[in-house]
Amino acid sequence: MDQTLKDHLVAFLLRQGDNTLVLGHRTSEWCGTAPALEEDIALANTALDLIGQTQLWLGYAAEVEGTGRTANDLAFRRDAYDFKNLLMLEVPNEDFGRTILRQFFFDAFQVPWLDALQGSTDERVAGIAAKSLKEALYHLDRSSETVIALGDGTEVSNSRMQAALDYLWPYTGEMFADDATDAAMSGAGIAPLPSTLHTGWRGKVAEVMTSATLTTPDSTFSHKGGRTGTRHTEHLGHMLATMQVLQRSHPGAAW
């Protein structure tokens, strides 16, 4: 593999791992404070799945990079501008409505995405995708059901979900914004272009939003800068300050 393609592959793997790490971290912030005990269990379970997927993606990223860094080094010793997660995943939880709607938007992308990655020319990518897909399918079932229930439930819950939708919508477009890394992955048969999933994703979203009696904004504007690392939100720095505190304050210590 030539160096350019290898660099793109590392960037691609970091995107996968940073997405699951950052969303897993946000989800774990709910510990012990969810609206009901069943939700506490489900959120912890989702976070656990996502952190498990992170270990696989970042572990492979570290191997391909080949400089002796580990998955933990990548998670706990990089600065915000080296993170390649979607902006949507780093914004604060705000309330249960935003948390679960974000999860749904992500799951509705991940399911077809991981499904396609199962056919990757890179066997390791295909293997991680196959394992993650089982979890993502379960997450999607749960998040879509919950979004429908909360949209349909009461006037209060409907307006909370609509507020979450209006807030998150401008962050969804970034999932489908192809760049040079995506082109390189697509060229090598490692991954499809994310833009090719957009129509299917919109269909799934429309179906769930209709059942949830929620109105998707007309705007096609989209914030960018997360998956390229060029301009994260102010929130990521705070998340990393918390997440990385032990590794940063005790360099070299084993835990």
Partner: protein
């Protein structure tokens, strides 16, 4: 243990029924939800199981305090799995309590209004990562002492919940011990954190068993009903006997100069915790009582719209189904 100072409720039942009930318990039979039971037995069990369930729920908070700061992906995953287990324990126990005719919402209201308690241990703060080790090793360890015998308790649903819970608790304890191992084998700062965690959690862990109850009427009644299997002192002794060699293995010093193996009894002699501190914690004056309850209250209040919406959606779905038929 997660149920402390449970007062057994007085019973005024038909003496013949009572005698037959006691005979079933003495014969080792399990009492099931539909069986006749004395009112005191039912009420005492509700208090005990409810307090245990609340402890599982509130117990997520001191660990949640470190989930976002877990130092590696493996540790983060382990801790997430543990708090997920604890929430599951809460769920089994609330279900067991429901078989006695009290709803989960009702028990939650009683917790939030201060009429029901949770274990004193969860009113202590978790200040460093080593506390995640100490909590698993000592707190889950102490809980196991009490819960293993409760697998044989007389009330069927409670005994069965305990069987499932105990398997996971011993895993939690090992996980906590491994965190401590990594810390004592680590940098000088990590060793200091480990010793500091033991210093802070040792006596609160001993308090988990509750004050001596060998002369308590309530405990005698509960033991007769087989909803309490050992005295508090027996369990505390067992805990000290098992934990002291583990601390030595870790190279940590238990903060008790009087702790010695008594060659005559084969048990460790040790210093009792400061029981006035225990009573302060029970009277809501522990280091974290206010924080823990306000966190639970906030979660309950913030989640109300979600719970209401879930109920409303289920109703609408049912109505739509009926209309379609």
């Amino acid at each position: 243990m997660y149920a402390q100072m449970i007062k057994s409720e007085a019973t005024e039942d038909d003496p013949e029924k009572l005698a037959a009930f006691q005979a079933r318990i003495d014969a080792g039979e399990k009492i099931e939800p539909k069986d006749w039971m004395p009112e005191g037995y039912r009420k005492t069990l509700i208090r005990q199981i409810g307090q245990h369930a609340h402890s599982e729920i509130v117990g997520q908070l001191p660990e949640g305090n470190w989930i976002t700061r877990a130092p590696t992906l493996e540790r983060k995953a382990n801790l997430l799995a543990k708090v997920q287990d604890e929430a599951g324990h809460g769920l089994y126990l609330y279900c067991a309590a429901e078989t006695l005719g009290v709803s989960r919402d009702d028990l939650t209201e009683q917790l939030l209004s201060g009429r029901m308690k949770y274990s004193s241990i969860f009113n202590y703060p978790t200040l460093t990562w080593a506390d995640m080790g100490a909590v698993g090793w000592l707190v889950d360890g102490a809980a196991i002492m009490n819960q293993v015998p409760l697998q044989r308790t007389s009330y069927g649903p409670y005994a069965r919940a305990m069987v499932r819970i105990c398997k996971e608790e011993s895993f939690h304890q090992r996980q906590g011990f491994h965190i401590m191992m990594a810390m004592v084998n680590g940098t000088p700062e990590q060793k200091r954190m480990a010793q500091d965690a033991l210093n802070r959690f040792w006596y609160p862990a001993l308090m988990m068993f509750g004050p001596s109850d060998k002369d308590s009427v309530h405990s005698a009644q509960s033991m007769k009903w087989r909803i309490k299997m050992n005295t508090n002192d027996e369990l505390r002794q067992k805990f000290v006997d098992e934990t002291a060699p583990q601390a030595a293995y870790l190279g940590l010093t238990i903060p008790d100069e009087a702790l010695t193996l008594n060659e005559d009894t084969g048990h460790y002699d040790f210093t009792q915790p400061d029981w006035s501190e225990f009573h302060d914690v029970l009277a809501d004056n522990g280091p974290c009582n206010v924080e823990r309850m306000s966190a639970r209250q906030k979660a309950w209040d913030d989640g109300a719209w979600v719970r209401d919406a879930m109920v409303a959606h289920a109703e609408k779905k049912r109505a739509r189904k009926v209309a379609a038929e």
